[in-house]
Amino acid sequence: MTATATKIVSQRGLFARSMVSVLTIIVIWEAVARAGLASPLFLPPFTKVMAEWWAVCADGSLPLDLAVSLSRAAVGLCLATAIGVPLGIAMARSRFLHWLFDPVIALAFPSPKIAFLPIFILWFGIYSFSKILLVAFACVFPILIGSFAAASSVNRVLIWSAASLGTSRLRMLFRIVLPAAWPRIFAALRVALPVSLITTFTAEMVSGGGGMGATLMYSQRFFESPTVFAYILTMLGVGLLLDFIMLKLQAASAWSTGA
């Protein structure tokens, strides 16, 4: 029944249907806006949004905002990776470190990180630095937990064999633990990537200071609806693109199918 139906829906058919559903939404959007069913303030026509998108791209404001936001997210994510991955592996190798950090992580992991934004502003000012650190703070916990789980689940036999062949502790880390844990660490990084984007955009929306989120809020306050929609669509596109890239990277770097 469903099995045959799934087979009939070929790859091309799937793509066509996806296109149809996206196009339907755009056409309905355009029609509703043009027919005056919704005020242009609430729902500007799609064509107008695209024209606005082209205009803000051409005058360089959108690319600049995007560059600011993406660099903040990237620096924060790199910082979180630089702290989270080594600490996660160290926690898996040392019971004392595990004991020391486990309660802190248990308490901090489920907490909404954006609530800490006022503290970061108080300590590090209202410019990029506080936002980057907040992004790092938000991303470090999923990376830490992922790396810990990955390093804990490395096959004991691999470690024992390497140890019996006389591998030193440092070489063990780089030759055995890291390669074996890599696929799952990368999966954790893929989880952290959208977290970094969400945190950057939200922090910018709350505290301003340039970037996609700040301009989005600014346009909303002045009721420039086409700009609001153009920025939201850009964020959607960026999110999709980055996830696609991470998926490809994951497929390319996964030499084994998980430990």
Partner: protein, 261 residues
């Protein structure tokens, strides 16, 4: 195993010890003047502020408003998410049409929609609940769809052989099989619900805990700001633990529960 010392450290009391150590270090740094108390109030002062806040109505009222928004959005989002996920898993046609929309909105930072909701619904509960709803919807859809699609054929055939009717299949086979995935999605959604409720309050609201934290910060009442943030951390932690307990209770029959105990 090794001596009692290690098992003592791993007891429930021993596991709180690192937090106590951090508190003591923090207090020591504060009293010795190593850090400016204006930037980091000492734990004692934050503790007094928490006590003070809990005695008054301000934090309770605002916290309840935030929890109400988060809870309502989470409830609506999970119900709609499970239903949509089920539809996507059971109907290939529906899945083909819904996949690009789900995929597109899944990677969109949902807080980006807050300005849009402010345009549509104004400032207040509707905006918060809508943002929370959307952020909870997507993980529920994806997880439910995954859980239902991965139902082994053997289970379906077995149930059919016993004469289970198609409608009953849903409740007796597909949903129970997807339950671990649904709970996993619910945990993600719970985290999102707090984040979105608080950030929407920080961006545009007249009340709620997010607004309260910012207000304390702007007035320079930093010990109260830290106290309010500490309240949120504790509430989020307790909510997460309660969900984990509920998960363990509901999935007692599942093999994942047997393996871990």
């Amino acid at each position: 195993m090794r001596a009692d010392r290690t098992s003592l450290l791993w007891s429930p009391v021993g596991r709180v010890l690192p937090l106590v150590l951090i508190g003591l270090l923090w207090q020591a740094a504060s009293t010795s003047g190593l850090i400016d108390p204006a930037f980091l109030p000492s734990p004692v002062r934050v503790g007094t502020a928490i006590y003070d806040l809990l005695a008054g109505r301000e934090i309770r009222d605002n916290l309840f408003i935030t929890l109400w928004r988060a809870g309502l959005g989470l409830a609506l989002g999970s119900i709609a998410g499970v239903w949509l996920g089920l539809m996507m898993a059971r109907s290939p046609v529906f899945r083909a049409y819904a996949t690009p929309i789900v995929g597109g909105t899944y990677s969109l930072p949902k807080s980006a929609l807050i300005p849009l909701f402010i345009l549509w619904f104004g400032i207040g509960t509707a905006t918060s609940v809508c943002a929370v709803f959307l952020s909870c919807l997507l993980p529920m859809v994806v997880n439910t769809a995954q859980g239902v699609t991965s139902t082994p054929r053997v289970l379906v055939w077995g149930a059919e052989a016993f004469g289970t009717r198609p409608r009953a299949m849903l409740w007796r086979v597909y949903l129970p099989h997807a339950l671990p995935n649904i709970f996993a999605g619910l945990r993600v959604a719970l985290g999102f619900s707090f984040v979105l409720a608080i950030s929407s309050e920080m961006i545009a609201s007249t009340n709620g805990i997010g607004k309260l934290i910012f207000m304390y910060g702007e007035n320079g009442a930093y010990d109260y700001m830290f106290a309010a943030i500490a309240c949120i951390v504790v509430v989020a932690f307790v909510a997460d633990r309660l969900l984990l307990m509920l998960t363990a209770k509901s999935l007692r029959w599942h093999e994942s529960a047997q393996r871990s105990t």
